[in-house]
Amino acid sequence: MVTENRTLRVLIAKPGLDGHDRGAKVVARALRDAGMEVIYTGIRQTPEMIAEAALQEDVDVVGLSILSGAHLELFPRVIAELEKRGVTDVLLFCGGIIPEGDIPAIQQMGFKGVFGPGTDTNDIIAFLRENVTEKQ
């Protein structure tokens, strides 16, 4: 938990080729309404673009939204690109269409939060506030 009363910065990104971002936008708006600053980069982001944006924007949190089913392939590449840049102190979460059976593997990769379709955005907000850590 953060003690200091600072503004959380969150990158919401859509890796892969799926074309619509309704869900990502709903989450972005909810986080804004909870007082967070959301950097929204649009659809079709490569792992390099996501990691580079996370670095330049010095975000506290990276949230990935995915509907295409390519999460097991794309998520590790995002993490590898983040590590390559030394961005290792961000809180990771993801949402979208993710089969129950894949969740343990995704958590193993380092995603602390995995949220399926229809998640109450208040749960995501509470999760972020609870889990974000102080920057070093």
Binding site: R29, A34, E48, M49, K135
Partner: protein, 319 residues
């Protein structure tokens, strides 16, 4: 990372340190002030450009196109894009990167999104700090995008040397009602979206407005662009360069530098005073008590402002 390490690493071109230094400057904390003081000697080398205009005129698209043209000319580019915070939640959705996607992969470009945070007129202060950090990090050109809407944004223009005011053919009324201050601070005028009808008319309106404005040693040129297709950017960069040359070489260069320095000092001091005064008033519960009085119409707001000023004066007299 401690401020001393941040200073060294920013100076050495470390992008992660740069990103973290900006975070501190934005938070206006002790580390941020230390970093700025430590880097200041390295500033003053970058060309600094402000891009301002109403929401939707294509500023972000234009900034991206401008950055591409600067890169074509072999210059590295730092970008700061400022968007308003929600007055209700103080949160923000910062979407300017959407228009700059292709630049993310370019190691010669560093782009940062910033929310105005609506904090007591301190936006100009913060923006000029972020510009200084990028300048010290060695970027040849630093571009600041702001929504030109209020006093804060006019002051942000003092953070950059060359201010470009962006309008569109559809923005005729917009130009008419444009804050007088904004016209005066612009050194280059752009009619963007010149692919849609009415661009010539919009340019004519601007020309007419300039004709009745007080004469200036630098006459702001009026250009047309289609930012979405990277059209007109060559001429825009030429004009920005010309203004920068003018700043360096004309007989007025010194005068303008002094005017800019004065505007910068006054605006920074104003923001700091404003913040300190409100902190004092809030800290001692004075403001809340006055708000009660005025809201109930027991006291008039001018008298209340006087009481607040008196309290601040006493407080500072003690400190």
């Amino acid at each position: 990372m401690q401020p001393t390490e941040l200073i060294e690493r920013v100076a050495a071109g470390d992008r992660r340190a740069l990103a973290r230094a900006i975070t501190h400057v934005e938070a206006d904390n002790a580390a941020g002030r230390e970093v700025l003081a430590g880097l200041y000697a390295r500033t003053g080398r970058a060309q600094t450009i402000g891009i301002t205009g109403s929401a939707g005129v294509g500023k972000s698209t234009l900034v991206a196109a401008l950055a591409r043209e600067e890169r074509r000319r072999g210059r590295t580019v730092g970008i700061v894009a400022v968007d308003p915070s929600s007055p209700f939640s103080h949160g923000a959705i910062l979407g300017d990167r959407i228009r700059m996607q292709d630049l993310t992969a370019d190691g010669g470009v560093f782009m940062r999104s910033m929310a105005s945070r609506g904090n007591l007129g301190g936006l100009a202060e913060t923006a000029s700090g972020v510009v200084d950090v990028m300048d010290a990090a060695g970027y040849d050109v630093v571009i600041v995008e702001t929504v030109g809407a209020g006093q804060d944004e006019v002051e942000v223009a003092t953070a950059t040397q060359t201010t470009v005011l962006v309008t569109t053919p559809a923005g005729g009324d917009d130009v008419q009602s444009m804050k007088a201050g904004l016209m005066e601070i612009a050194q280059v005028m752009v009619v963007n979206k010149a692919d849609i009808a009415g661009a010539e008319t919009a340019a004519m309106q601007l020309r007419a407005l300039l004709a009745i404005a007080p004469a200036r040693a630098w006459e702001p040129p009026i250009l047309m662009t289609v930012a979405r297709n990277n059209e007109g950017l060559d001429a825009l960069v030429d004009k920005i360069d010309a203004h920068q040359d003018y700043l360096r070489t004309s007989g007025h260069a010194d005068e303008e530098r002094r005017a800019l320095a004065e505007a910068q000092i006054v605006s920074l001091a104003r923001a700091a005073l404003h913040r300190q005064a409100l902190e004092t008033a809030q800290g001692e519960g004075i403001l809340a008590a006055l708000v009660d009085e005025v809201a109930a119409r027991r006291q008039d707001p001018r008298a209340a402002a006087g009481v607040l000023l008196e309290a601040v004066r006493k407080h500072w007299g003690r400190g």
